[in-house]
Symmetry: C2
Subunit: 331 residues, 2 copies
């Protein structure tokens, strides 16, 4: 790595002159600036970010803690985070908690070592189930800035980005009802998450609005992936239904596939919808209509909030809770 010192030596000037020349300070002669810049270019000089960080206490780096990178939703949020962060001149130090509270705590330890200006987190499912947010409380006490996304929690006072889970499922359910459906199966493999109750409420709210009685037997808990196929199969074989809504990213694809196997004659009559994106929707045929969470936008917005918070030096910040609009994509 080329350093200022090396440049200074080669040019027979002082380090501070080189530093100022490169930042176009107006107390350096044009001629000197030119020489300095040329050599810097030739030797491919890059300022050392560690030194900058040490000096200024600003690292232009955001920490990111993701519960599960194999979940396409989180992968897409990460995509949005990276895109926006780079656009704004920030890098990302990424950790995957793998849904474990301990791993999440370790991640925060790593991030809290002076290398980030703030972090963006969606808590692990274990953290949510055990309601153990002490590490986030600690971060707050240490005045470390962070933004929560997706799995947000009321107990933590900070900036938050999520979709309106209840409304998203409400809208999708109404969409099914508008298609004349009323016997709607409800599929969920995220019963271990706090957002699942919001989504269920949205479902029930839509049923109630349209005077459809909810039927507990129509609500399938698929949280255990080992038994999910069996659960769906048994439902399909024994119930009279005309639609299915999945409140996670996978169940709709599974459901449709099993439907084709066990009640192929029904395929044309049953409408399935789930959370998805343009790409995963096409894994099914016919492609599934889907609830677009706009995961990329969630990531982008989280970065915007984070940067806003970082710039904000006030002692009494007013935190924001942003809800990203979802939409039903009919294909």
């Amino acid at each position: 790595m080329t350093t200022l010192k090396q440049l200074a030596k080669l040019l027979n000037v002082s380090v501070s002159t080189v530093s100022k020349a490169l930042s176009d300070a107006d107390d350096i002669g044009e001629e000197t600036k030119k020489r300095v810049k040329e050599l810097a270019e030739t030797l491919n000089y890059k300022p050392n970010k560690l030194a900058l960080g040490l000096k200024s206490n600003v690292t232009n780096t955001l920490g990111v803690v993701i519960p599960d990178i194999l979940n396409p939703f989180f992968a897409e949020v990460l995509y949005g985070i990276q895109k926006q962060a780079n656009k704004k001149g920030y890098d990302t130090l990424v950790c995957i908690s793998n849904e474990s509270t301990q791993t999440e705590i370790n991640a925060l330890e790593l991030l809290k070592q002076g290398r980030i200006d703030g972090f963006i987190i969606s808590p692990a499912s274990e953290t949510i189930q055990t309601n153990n947010f002490s590490h986030l409380d600690a971060a707050k006490n240490e005045r470390i800035k962070f933004v929560m996304f997706d799995r947000v929690d009321n107990k933590i006072e900070t900036d938050k980005v999520s979709i309106d889970d209840q409304k998203a499922v409400f809208d999708a359910t109404e969409w099914l009802i508008s298609k004349g459906k009323s016997k709607i199966a409800y599929l969920s493999n995220i019963e271990n998450l706090n957002i699942s109750s919001d989504r269920r409420n949205g479902f029930h709210e839509a049923l109630a609005k349209h005077k459809i009685d909810p039927n507990p037997n129509f609500e399938l808990n698929l949280t255990n992936i080992e038994t999910a196929h069996k659960t769906i199969e048994s439902f399909i074989k024994t119930h009279d239904f005309d639609a299915a809504i999945s409140v996670d990213n996978n169940s709709a694809i599974m459901f449709q596939s099993l439907l084709k196997s066990f009640r192929p004659e029904l395929v044309d009559q049953i409408t399935c919808i789930g959370f998805a994106n343009a790409k995963t929707s096409k894994l099914a045929y016919p492609p599934l209509s889907y609830i677009n969470q706009n995961a990329t936008k969630i990531g982008e917005k989280a970065v915007d909030l984070m940067i806003e918070r970082i710039k904000d030096k006030s002692d009494n910040p007013s935190y924001k809770q942003i809800k990203i609009a979802t939409d039903v994509v009919e294909v």
Copy 2:
């Protein structure tokens, strides 16, 4: 952030005493060590990694450049990288090139600013198609250490981890043949990648070995996702086949789903296999048998190679090319 200086002041000792006490140097009195450690614990002292990095030129951070985080394969590799890196005491600075050479170059710029000890990369498809590896050559000239994975290239001399693409597809094809199949559709949405020719060779090699004539009409190019469904549909409707092998992560799921729609009577007789993992295989029903790339292991191995290379101070390194074994998982 608590610093050594603050601890020193509170304890009325010098900064170096605190530093040594915390690292258990044996020229510090037991009593002093105890006092120092207790206070450090109480104030939640964490050494500043930026300062450590500046001082020692060692950051214990690995750069990672991934072409596409929405691809489950890369997501899983990243998972393996993170897992192994954390285990070995390294953090990861992750960049997504989004299959663009320019973004990849920018990513390397970011990473080359003194904050990483080396980087792990799988090049963007654009980089491979345009055969433009100058930025990696540059990295080599600057003596920056890196490991390539999956999309490895002979022209670059460095450590590499991949699967044996030809063998993986050869094995899977033979597996189909062993089931009595001979009219095998070949599905690929990765015709823009260098590895696709290896995979195709594996397919042809297996056919040749078993004296099956290859039929070009059976080889479907699905690289354009917009036309993929149509291409498959038209093939299914007009050809006589008894199996399908997908050399990417999606096509097999699509193929099976379209098969159920357009030739449901064939579903029981046609065997489909593709690259996948335990989770994505279950998106289909019946779950698909799959070629397990052991993506997690690829990531882990890449980290091992990277760390080995970092520790290796020799001027004339002997680079390794590791092939991770794949296996056919029959479900």
